[in-house]
Amino acid sequence: MTFAYNRPPNIPEALALMTASPGTFPVLAGGTDLIVQWRSGIIKLDGVIDISELAQLRGISVTDEGVEIGALATHAEIAANGVVAQRFPSLATACLSIGGPQIQNRGTIGGNVMNASPAGDTLPVLLAHDADFLAQDLTGERWIPAREFFVGYRKTALKPQELLTRIRIRMPDTKERGSFLKVGARRAQAISKVSLCVRGRIRHGGVDWIKIAVGSVAPTPIRAPGTEALLTGKVITDSMIELARNSLADEVFPIDDIRSTADYRRFAAGGLLARYLREMTSRA
């Protein structure tokens, strides 16, 4: 049987293919996830819809409200973008922590998002920044907020005939500080055992507001509202850090798997948060 390699030249044709037989052929962006899954036998592949011709899905544009990143923007392009590096350093860090240079040059943010692995490194960042995802199909387009986007293990809110085209992140407050922290088995080419994106406004050692998103501790990336509430309005002391650490350990639902244990992940999630809080208040 001939492999059905489709490479639509524009969005309408791509959408037409996706609508004609929804879910039959996966969308191919960079290929750094899809091709690995295919070659290792995790999925069967009879064809693909290669979206690399869709120019509107490329690029990073800055508006007054924030940044819009095309689904086909590669991790390397995102990390190298001046605005991202300056205003969204946690996103740049996350992109630079995916695989290594070779993977970063081909892997796309759209691919990372649509793969929707709970270990996807950009996911906690997008969740913590309340990003919006633009989904398009033949009937039109809709923005989906991050909180509603990741619905289950490797499942997004997109319908099979919808294509992710852009991701929008509101420009952060200049006084905000954000960090992406990750624990992997080694310093490069590592799937995260636990990952954290924290952003907040910390003034005179106290928390104005804070948003915490955690990866690899549940079927989807998750926020930690309990710990966020615990920290809001509080001064960061050593004992507060301990409380926050323990609170976060209770809000995550990790499992034992080939990479790590549930116990360790709980502990390390708290540890990464402690590290952030300490750094933000220079309690090194």
Partner: protein, 753 residues
């Protein structure tokens, strides 16, 4: 101009840099097909039925099974218990049940997907502890593959005289080689009836011997050649005989050359790995730190077949007492069978499993008696004239103290330890740990005497002199170093010397490329060959050119008579060949005088000589996540003579980072007898960002019976990294982990409330 001691450029380096170095998978042969292996998917039981699906056209491929083996269904090693293809009883996941050859690799793999094997399943024995308990017997009555004992002095008396007794149990998991080039082989039946094999292998003669039994052919009708290979580390010592068997059986059946190159997951799952180990120490010590008694239990998980386990066991056992002086030792060792793929040679060959425990144990002892880790080693290390645990009196080239002091000084060990302890910030603590270790050069005991490894020198038509050896190049630099040694023995320029491809049709049986023996053993033999060659050539030259044989010598590229240049070496060689036709000198290795070893009592001279090493490792432990980063490692290696310092440093650095991987991140996950971490995504080896800064010190205490004083080096660097890192972590955190790998999860478990 002598080249030994110079960092001459590695042979093949230019081809490698140009992408022109040819490895097995780069080679094609006319009409070549590709092979694939149908493998068992249960750890223990019987094959009931092999079913070929109707939905595949089996005419497109050729199949072979145990019935197609012309000779014996066995891959010969120490015992003959390893079948090439399973006929009935299944002893581990991944054994061959059927072989498939097809015009393309994809077709062979597609055919494989259409084969179904049915089994009768039996309860497996999957761990060392289960095997020892012997509730289920898979080998004899006690599951034992091999066991030895070692006694020195009077251990009971020694313990009675001790001020303190320190105990410890240490466990180590598998380690997989992850040579970047997977296993591969091509076999072809030539039109002249010779079976020609080229492969990614360390020991051409092991393969030719195994094939002669499998194919029922005399060895001289089998030609095995080593291609350039992408790493081996012991993983290509015995295992290639298995793949060669598959290729040969298929090649014979389909009357075509057949190539098999393993997928990475297949390679990790079925090929040999480092033996897991459990070691128990009970040590009596005086309050000044002197060791007075040692009791050691050394146990290995052999896997399902014997292969090399008795030898790994014996080397690990001998090294388990460490590089120390102790008059009273009682020790036992045992290798147990399990229903997992046979474990085999991996750089160190048991010694890392012996040295990790004793080196962590020494720090434990140091703590118990209140002496520094440096001092406890100073007080107990072996010196010239001391007797080892096997009663071997060391005579010369004992570098234990030299390497220890070199590292202590370069790392400012005591001072730095204090500084690091003070520099503890809230979330990152730092530590510095040390390890002292040794590695016997050459085969254990009478191995070399039995083997009589051969090497040769041959006059070539282009006027050069070729080194002939079956010892292979696998990145360690043997094919650069041996020509250097030969050139210096001859007194000629390196440009006058070359080295033949390791092909059993062209080179003598040197013995395997293992046991850190190549430089030392081959170098000595080449010295003997060089003397004989010079004698023959000078006698010829004297007659032919009317010269005084006594005044003849080689200098640089020329033949000299006294101070007068007679002719280039190449001219002499060509003149000799023109008149006499050919000249090859072959000689064999003999152990230095006075080497006596008793296999039964494990007593005597275990090795002709030891190399010595010391590592200091500085680590940072992040207490928020227990991630460990090794920031720096100092190494000192005493190797007799650094024939090529740049290549020697490369060996030390590479081996040390492999040891780091074993220490911290290389965890082979098995479940129900299946390897779950069978990808590079899940079996984790260090990247460039994980590798530490390194300071590499090479020391030389020339060995009287080594070529230009050289001893073995290849495996030494693997022996000390893990305990140095473990000891550094203990210094940093106060937590002493005695089980490898020391993952963050393990550290967390050790100190969670």
């Amino acid at each position: 101009m002598p080249t030994v001691g110079k960092s001459v450029t590695r042979r093949h380096a230019v081809e490698m840099a140009m992408g022109r170095a040819l490895y097995v998978d780069d080679l094609q042969m006319p009409g070549m097909w590709h092979g694939a292996v149908v493998r068992t998917s249960i750890p223990h039981g019987r094959v009931r039925r092999v079913e070929l699906s109707q939905s595949f056209d089996w005419n497109r491929v050729v199949l072979a099974d145990a019935r197609d083996i012309p000779g014996r269904n066995c891959v010969a090693m120490i015992e003959d218990d390893l079948p090439l293809i399973v006929h009935d009883v299944v002893k581990h996941v991944g054994e061959a049940v059927m072989l498939i050859a097809a015009p393309t690799r994809d077709l062979a793999l597609e055919a494989r997907r259409h084969v179904k094997v049915e089994y009768e399943e039996w309860e497996p024995v999957l761990t060392l502890e289960d095997s020892k308990a012997a509730r289920i017997k898979i080998r004899g009555e006690d599951n034992v593959v091999a066991r030895y004992e070692m006694h020195k002095g009077d251990a009971a008396k020694g313990f009675a005289s001790a001020d303190k007794v320190v105990e410890g149990t240490y466990t180590m998991g598998h380690q997989e080689h992850i040579y970047i080039e997977p296993q591969g082989m091509i076999a072809a039946l030539r039109d002249d009836g010779v079976f020609s094999v080229v492969g990614s292998l360390q020991c051409p003669y092991y393969v030719s011997k195994a094939l002669s039994i499998i194919m029922s052919m005399p060895e001289d009708r089998i030609s095995v050649r080593q291609a350039l290979i992408g790493g081996a580390f012991g993983g290509k010592e015995d295992y290639p005989s298995v793949i060669a068997g598959y290729c040969a059986v298929l090649a014979r059946k389909c009357q075509r050359p057949v190539k098999i190159v393993y997928d990475r997951d297949e390679d990790i799952e079925v090929s040999t790995k480092r033996h897991p180990a459990i070691v128990r120490h009970r040590t009596g010590v005086r309050k000044d730190g002197t060791l007075v008694a040692m009791d050691i239990d050394f146990e290995l998980d052999a896997g399902a077949y014997v292969t090399l386990s008795p030898v790994v066991l014996s080397r690990g056992f001998i090294h388990s007492a460490g590089p120390y002086r102790c008059d009273n030792v009682s020790a036992r060792c045992c290798a147990y069978a399990t229903n997992t793929a046979p474990n085999g040679a991996f750089r160190g060959f048991g010694a890392p499993q012996g040295l990790f425990p004793i080196e962590v144990h020494m720090d434990r002892i140091a703590e118990a008696v209140g002496i520094s880790p440096l001092e406890i080693r100073r007080r107990n290390l072996l010196r010239d004239g001391d007797a080892t645990v096997t009663g071997q009196v060391l005579r010369g080239s004992v570098g234990a103290s030299a390497v220890l002091e070199a590292v202590a000084k370069r790392s400012r060990f005591e001072k730095r330890r204090k500084e690091l302890a003070k520099s503890r910030r809230k979330n990152i603590c730092k530590g510095l740990g040390i390890s002292l270790f040794h590695h016997g050069s050459g085969f254990t005991g009478s191995g070399e005497a039995v083997l009589k490894g051969k090497a040769g020198l041959r006059l070539d038509a282009d006027g050069r002199i070729a080194v002939l050896t079956a010892c292979t190049e696998m990145g360690q630099g043997s094919h650069t170093v041996l020509p250097q040694i030969a050139a210096d023995h001859l007194g000629v320029d390196l440009s006058c010397v070359t080295i033949e491809t390791p092909d059993t049709a062209l080179v003598p049986n040197s013995g395997p490329t293992v046991a850190s023996r190549t430089t030392m053993v081959m170098g000595v033999v080449l010295g003997k060959c060089a003397s004989q060659l010079k004698e023959r050539l000078f006698a010829f030259a004297a007659k032919r050119f009317d010269a005084d044989a006594g005044r003849l010598s080689f200098k640089g590229e020329n033949l000299m008579s006294g101070k007068k240049t007679l002719m280039p070496v190449s001219g002499l060689v060509k003149a000799y060949l023109a008149e006499k036709g050919a000249l090859t000198i072959i000689d064999h290795y003999e152990l230095p005088p006075g080497i006596h070893w008793n296999d039964k009592t494990f007593n005597g001279d275990a090795y002709p000589v030891y190399a010595w090493g010391c590592n200091a490792a500085e680590v940072e432990v992040d207490l928020d996540t227990f991630e460990v980063h090794v920031s720096k490692i100092w190494t000192a290696s005493e190797m007799g003579r650094a024939v090529n310092p740049l290549l020697a440093e490369g060996q030390v650095e590479g081996g040390t980072v492999q040891a780091l991987g074993w220490a911290l991140m290389e965890r082979l996950v098995m479940k129900d007898g299946h390897v779950r971490s069978n990808r590079l995504q899940t079996y984790i080896i260090p990247t460039a960002l994980d590798a530490p800064e390194m300071e590499t010190i090479l020391l030389e205490l020339p060995f009287e019976y080594g070529p230009m004083g050289a001893k073995g080096l290849g495996e030494l660097p693997m022996d000390g990294g893990a305990p140095a890192i473990a000891n550094a972590i203990a210094h940093a955190t106060g937590i002493r982990i005695c089980d490898l790998p020391i993952t963050p999860e393990r550290l967390y478990e050790a100190c969670k409330p």
